[in-house]
């Protein structure tokens, strides 16, 4: 019994952490432009499919494929700003226009992937360890996939912490997030920080996509299923402004999911997590894991 619980904690937390990564994409954009990109999860799907192309179809090796797919995703993030965000802003479109444009973008990517790769899921190469690799730890089996997910996310969090807190560009990013106009007056190039936030948002979600692909396969599920909504949910749990709280929110969501599967029913798993999302939004819209208490 205790083993079951520990086993579920391990798997729930690792899947939840990737939800948290998806949520980070939402947070980075919200911090700088106060907009929500509803095509957020498309970056995950693109990341997974690009990696599949580079690794399996072109045989480029793990490292090169990873860097190349992340590079393309970063370019996509920049394109999102140049071709979607800026034109809408210039022509006086408000938040709703951005929302609908990104929703349509989400449909567009799904259909593009169907046209290019077909609708059938593709097996993901076992780069993070096969399904039978695991480490036994006091009776619990930890698949090496989950260990790799923890590792990548830990590296990523250290990296994000370092960029945000120890570099000049991170400082200007945080300044622009707190007050755009004042930051611009202080000589910070807000355009650069906006571009940076778009790139960071798409890249983080792209990495999440590559990490989720061994679990969900390289499939359309990554770009149109409920994972996107869970990403939003973890961002909300982190109050939309706190990157570390978002990861924690994602982890708790993953745990909630696994335990509702264990104790209640797997069919009602998603219904339970969405109900929790609604409850949090109604009762505490500033987020549960948001200890900074900044403006929403």
């Amino acid at each position: 019994m205790l083993q079951d619980i520990l086993q579920n904690i391990v798997s729930g937390a690792s899947i939840g952490a990737t939800y948290g990564l998806v949520g980070l994409g939402v947070v980075f954009l919200w911090l700088t432009i106060s907009r929500i990109n509803f095509a957020n999860i498309s970056s995950a799907m693109l990341g997974a499919y690009l990696f599949y192309s580079f690794y399996t179809q072109l045989n480029l090796g793990f490292f090169i494929s990873f860097v190349l797919s992340i590079g393309v995703i970063a370019l996509y993030g920049l394109g999102l700003r140049v071709f979607i965000y800026e034109p809408i802003r210039k022509r006086g479109g408000g938040r709703l226009e951005f929302v609908v444009a990104t929703l349509m973008l989400c449909t567009f990517w799904l259909n593009l992937i169907i046209v290019v790769y077909g609708a059938l899921p593709k097996p993901f190469p076992p780069v993070f360890g096969g399904s039978n690799d695991f480490i036994s730890l006091g009776g619990i089996r930890i698949p090496s996939l989950y260990l790799n997910i923890y590792l990548v996310i830990a590296i990523l969090m250290v990296f994000i912490y370092f960029i945000l807190n120890k570099t000049l560009i991170g400082k200007s990013f945080r300044a622009a997030a707190q007050n755009r106009e004042a930051a611009a007056l202080m000589g910070i190039d807000v355009k650069v920080t906006t571009s940076l936030s778009f790139i960071m948002a798409t890249v983080v979600v792209g990495i999440a996509g590559i990490l989720l692909a061994p679990i969900y396969f390289v499939s359309l599920e990554l770009g149109g299923g409920s994972i996107g909504v869970k990403g939003f949910a973890s961002a909300v749990l982190g109050g939309l402004t706190n990157p570390y709280g978002t990861i924690l929110g994602g982890i708790s969501l993953g745990l909630l999911e696994n335990f509702s599967t264990l104790y209640i029913s797997s069919t009602y798993r998603d219904i339970i997590s969405f109900s929790v999302l609604v409850a949090v939004l109604i009762l505490k819209p500033s987020g549960i894991f948001n200890w900074k208490r900044k403006k929403i």
């Binding site: 408000g94 973008l105 567009f108 969405f274 109900s275």
Partner: protein
């Protein structure tokens, strides 16, 4: 006088449409377009006039469809009763969904509505005894008067009439004190409250009305298709509905009609030979382009076009 000619001409054109074509697929498509127009009109009301947002409209659509199907097939009620039951239950769900909107705005509200839509969709899949689950709900009766089945053309008139009634109700609400209060709430919640207007009641009414129209659309769809499966009720349908409202024009009376009919027919126009694989892709690009370049929507543009053609004075149709 010219306005009258224009209005009568437009109505005649719509009413006579079934006479011009015998192709039942075209007629079925136009019926779908009218259903979407009804639903998008509700969204225009909710978003454009009352300033709330709903990305879970497919949830109400599903509630309307499955309620009506359940009432007619499992309980053996006539279609009218089923449709009314669908509307009533949707309206109740709309009232419930309006409760979070008292506190939440914009993105947070849209998340609640997304969650609502997803929850309804999962219930549709999992509550197999009521909804039939993924394998579908069969044998929903088609529209009939007495023992005579209606033709697609007659159904078109029926739907057109219902669409006209919904737009007319919306028009009357907009020009009542209620509608003016709603527009004020759209501009500023707090200021409206200080004027002694209960924004809670307004929000409930707005959600209820748009949910009712979505429920009506769902019920009409159920009896038109005769078969329900979970596919038309996904999150992507909800986003399509919002896209219809935005493309048509959120602040315009005709927004829902223009957007609903336009976005239903657009993919079909793109579906000519050799392009079958790309039409959905191209549709989404066209919608993005419309949103970027015509943020106020196509409704106002069509209106000014008609004005130029018929040389109408602005003051005459200011209220349109």
């Amino acid at each position: 006088m010219k306005k009258l000619i224009f209005v009568v001409g437009a109505i005649l054109l719509i009413v006579l449409f079934p006479i011009f074509t015998n192709n039942s697929y075209h007629l079925y498509l136009m019926n779908r377009a009218l259903i979407h127009a009804i639903l998008a009109t509700g969204l225009v009301f909710l978003t454009g006039f009352a300033g709330q947002i709903s990305l879970g409209q497919a949830g109400f659509y599903a509630i309307g469809a499955y309620t009506s199907a359940y009432f007619t097939v499992k309980l053996g009620m006539p279609i009218t009763v089923g449709v009314i039951a669908g509307i009533v239950i949707s309206v109740v769900a709309g009232f419930l969904l309006s409760i979070p909107s008292f506190k939440l705005k914009a993105f947070f509200l849209s998340l609640v509505t997304i969650a609502f839509g997803q929850i309804v969709w999962m219930l549709v899949i999992n509550l197999t005894p009521i909804t039939g689950g993924p394998s579908g709900f069969f044998g929903i009766p088609f529209y009939s008067v007495g023992n005579n089945m209606l033709s697609f053309g007659q159904v078109f008139w029926l739907f057109g009439g219902l669409l006209f009634v919904s737009v007319f109700i919306m028009y009357r609400i907009k020009h009542s004190h209620f509608g003016r209060a709603m527009l004020a709430m759209n501009d500023d919640d707090v200021a409206t409250e200080t004027c002694g207007i209960s924004t809670k009641r307004l929000k409930m009414a707005a959600f209820g009305f748009s949910a009712g129209l979505a429920g009506l659309a769902g019920a009409l769809y159920a009896h038109l298709a005769g078969f329900l499966s979970p596919e038309p009720f996904t999150f992507f349908e909800s986003s399509n509905f919002v896209a219809m409202a935005v493309v048509g024009g959120l602040r315009h009376m005709s927004g829902g009609v223009v957007g609903g009919i336009g976005l239903t027919l657009l993919p079909e126009f793109l579906r000519f030979g050799g392009w079958e694989n790309y039409y959905l892709m191209v549709t989404s690009i066209i919608v993005i382009l419309i949103i970027i370049f015509v943020p106020m929507g196509l409704g106002p543009i069509l209106e000014s076009l008609f004005r130029k053609i018929f040389r109408l004075k602005r003051s005459n149709t200011k209220t349109l």
